[in-house]
Subunit: 477 residues, 2 copies
Amino acid sequence: MTPTQDSKPALLQELRTLLGAAHVLDEGDLSAWEIDWRKRYRGRALAVVRPGNSEEVAAVVRACAAHGVALVPQGGNTGLVGGGVPDASGSQLLLSLARLNRIRAIDPANLTLTAEAGCVLQVVQEAADGAGLLFPLSLAAEGSCTIGGNLATNAGGTQVLRYGNARELCLGLEVVTATGEIWHGLSGLRKDNTGYDLRDLFIGSEGTLGIITAATLKLHPRPAASMTALAACGSLEHCVALLMGARATLGAGLSGFEVMNRLSLALVARHFPQLAQPLPPASWAVLLELSDHESAEHARSAFEALLEQALEAGEISDAVVAESQAQSHALWHLRESIPLAQSEEGLNIKHDIALAVSSIPAFVAAADAALLRHDAGIRFVNFGHLGDGNLHYNVQAPEGVDGAAFLREQEPAVNRIVYDAVVAHGGSISAEHGIGELKREELAQRKSAVALALMRAIKQALDPQGIMNPGRVLAEP
Amino acid sequence: MTPTQDSKPALLQELRTLLGAAHVLDEGDLSAWEIDWRKRYRGRALAVVRPGNSEEVAAVVRACAAHGVALVPQGGNTGLVGGGVPDASGSQLLLSLARLNRIRAIDPANLTLTAEAGCVLQVVQEAADGAGLLFPLSLAAEGSCTIGGNLATNAGGTQVLRYGNARELCLGLEVVTATGEIWHGLSGLRKDNTGYDLRDLFIGSEGTLGIITAATLKLHPRPAASMTALAACGSLEHCVALLMGARATLGAGLSGFEVMNRLSLALVARHFPQLAQPLPPASWAVLLELSDHESAEHARSAFEALLEQALEAGEISDAVVAESQAQSHALWHLRESIPLAQSEEGLNIKHDIALAVSSIPAFVAAADAALLRHDAGIRFVNFGHLGDGNLHYNVQAPEGVDGAAFLREQEPAVNRIVYDAVVAHGGSISAEHGIGELKREELAQRKSAVALALMRAIKQALDPQGIMNPGRVLAEP
């Protein structure tokens, strides 16, 4: 959809009247909004608008609808799939939610917090903490991503095992529809069976059905203590057995269960030798996190009992429980250093995939073997949230091969091999990053025709003009 | 939508060919399918069909679509809002899912179970238990309701506080669409961000968008011990304070938090005097359930610490912790006897409502006062799942007044007063029972115009012929 040459000045004039000239930018350096943070997508916006409240968002949408101009909503611009930057046409309006940044309410007795879409995730976490409560959504970009973007992409992160994805942490939404109306669905209700689940339809729709302007979020009691352990496993099968034991023994206390293959930690050792690695190298390392509602002593004894049992059962060969908060942080820091270590090693081919936990050992065996048949030198940086069945299954160039050349030449073939194996094992090609523009064609090929037809019917019903983040998730018709 | 006079014999002939004559019933006593179990809705079916698998369900839908005949799916026929019986026209086909009753798979390492829609809830619970795991959905009708109906209505029950509604217990669906295609969405994935959330759109849509034929359900580790306590509170404010303390102290171990007002237990005492009531009458009694992953001793000491603290804080005036499983059952039996006790007392006017937990004391004060202004003799049987903000706020006739006459004469006025108060306090007119036919008009008046327009657009998009359970949730256009 392209506006006529004449409509642009008229639209911009309308927008300036609505928002004030300071919040309608169409000159100068707009690259902060036009380029994604990984610099994989470089677009050009008709203009950047920065409405200050939900009514202004609605007015912008109505103006765009009247002029037939498409909108791209953007939060913290930390997305990984190119869903939040305009295309190259110069015809799409970039709508920044950054000024909708108020915490509207905290209700401790209801364990809820209502935040506007542009609130940075860390600000939401801190507001909850200030009320003595926990907002458990946590991910690497939390210092700059926004809660609106987290919900639009149904973000995951490190505590999904215990608290769920962004979807499970949201009780209600306020949304501006494609007709520029506001749906006031900011319920703080835990039960509400009055019709179709509009909330979950907007969550994860990446701005293609409407623009989330605020959300009522679930808070949790803060645990009395958190504790971290690291264990060494000889195989993924043993990791799965340890997970089953941990879930049975620790119940809901188990809040994290991350796996890291040998190369993941070897790259950390190579590029960050100053980081102590408390266990000798093993096929797999498991990072366990326990959130305890009693005390650190209680957490420690639960961990020790679990790990002793796992040692006796031969599921693990070695383990260490953090002795302090500082040691816990150091263990997590190893895990969090993997993305940087692999970057230091050179560009690689990344996959954010999900499988049934029980299918993961077979999937990894099959995908590893198929890739090694393709290129015997390929190296695997494989780590992720085993407790959620979510692997960051990344394929690194052979030792000594240039990463950029490898990415350029091998990405299509490697993706085909990996996604074929994912689909053969009943998995998902996007666990927590979404579809955006990056995986749109892959989705069109791999998702069932019935599901795609249902999705297209919903898109057509809620956005018949096709002005809401067009070309993302679904290809334009 | 009414089929032509001629199309009925042709359709029935087609259906007999598809399913076998034994599974297409259009003669004799069909009241088991045509009348809901509370006998509030008496319809007449064109015929009752009982397909044996998902492909047969799809074939039935295709035949109905070709003939323009509407379908009403039915599971255990235990619904409370008239959503699962045909209307009186004799033109709607009743599609029973009862023969789709296989447990297809149990995956302990993935903590999932895949069941067909017609599986009775208790059978699902038992299958999970047989694998050493827990399927926590639990409600009064569990011996006859089916998992398909539970999902179509997003059932709640007694363990929502810990484990969520039916929605939160489902990872994937298989659905027959209005065009008679099968969406194979039986994912056992905990993360899957590949497009719109079709699963949650079908869950709670009461058969109006498609027919759920199977589901992959989340299982949980079985707790090592469950323990029950009963406490006496002087006010709802104190109940809310106790809830906050219990959530903070017990964390995810708190699996039930039920309140019962004085009259609820007084009616139990009057009509079931053989049931021992361990505490003297109080304004409110609270039933707490703790699911512990360690041991009964651990659960007991956690409960005792909580209740001691609450006694000191003046939140409760008295409390008792069950000494045995038998005592736990006896305490739950008091709670479960309230519906029968109120029936013994006479018909009353029932409301299944939800509010933010923090709004409940103010709501109850306002609604009680408004109803007493309407009729000073009115009595309140008020009980429910305070932990979820869900009250069964039932209005009983004045002492000595005939319940049937009261219901007949007062229901509209009482509903108006109650629902006005619910809406004024930001609540929901249907917490866990759904809309069906019973609350369709109320919904049309009370839901926001924006939400209703979105719902109608989705209905039109996914069921343009209007053959899927028409007139339920939304009025026919």
